[in-house]
Amino acid sequence: MDALLFMIFAAVAVVCGVNLVLQTHPISSALSLVGVMAALAALYLLLGGEFIAAAQLVVYAGAIMVLFVFVIMLLNAGTEHKTHKSSWAKIAGVPLLVAFLGMVAWLIQGLVPATESVVFGEFRKGTALEIGRALFTTYLLPFELTSVLILIAILGAIVLARKEIE
């Protein structure tokens, strides 16, 4: 059952990822990316990361993708124009990518023992309680630093989007 669920969501993620790369219109790519993120949230849940799965849906599929879609709509971004500058890249790139992925998959199968498998419910430390405890004890300094980072990002976004740079 676990493997079946993994295969379903992995297939959704890969198909949406391929669609993201192949689509020429950015809004289609954005919707594919939402599909990838939703499928990954389900996989996080299978791995026992319930807090991260919720955060993935809220932060990534919610906030960040809304920002992307908003910018695409605002700029009225259209389909990419075709250029023939890099036709050799299309011919050589795809077989090379597949070969590279085959090699990586083979390496991973060799390095990670095949006896270990993911059983849903075996890892119970992914709750909000455990993550909050780690976040506010061991990782307190990085956590506080990210708040400064977010503040800088907000200020930077406001300054950049406020008016044209002369």
Binding site: Q109, V118, K125
Partner: protein, 108 residues
């Protein structure tokens, strides 16, 4: 019910392979696409793939640290998206284009 042609529980290596596949797709999108917004979305895809790796290793080591790391990756990705999209807006206001091939004023 007939026996399934695959193991009942997915091995860890499947998750890591999926992570590698998604990362490679992100790299491919980053290299092949010419729309600056799609390039940016490919970067987000790569960040997501790395997050899956983190969570998988967190499961293997039975520790919560991988979850914290991917949480920080999400925070940084949110900040990056806000600033990056503001930069894209500014570039579009000044140059009226989203094609990365035409944004080459720093070349030479």
């Amino acid at each position: 019910m007939p026996p399934l042609p695959f193991p009942a529980a997915a091995p860890l290596s499947w998750y890591l392979t999926l992570s590698a596949v998604l990362f490679a797709l992100g790299v491919a999108g980053f290299l092949f696409r010419r729309n600056i917004i799609t390039v940016f979305m490919s970067i987000e895809l790569m960040l997501n793939a790395v997050n899956l790796s983190f969570i998988t290793f967190s499961y293997k080591l039975k520790q919560v640290d991988g979850h914290i790391f991917s949480f920080f990756v999400m925070v940084v990705a949110a900040a990056e998206a806000a600033v990056g999209l503001a930069i894209i807006l500014t570039v579009f206001k000044n140059r009226q284009t989203l094609e990365i091939d035409e944004l080459s004023s720093l070349k030479n």
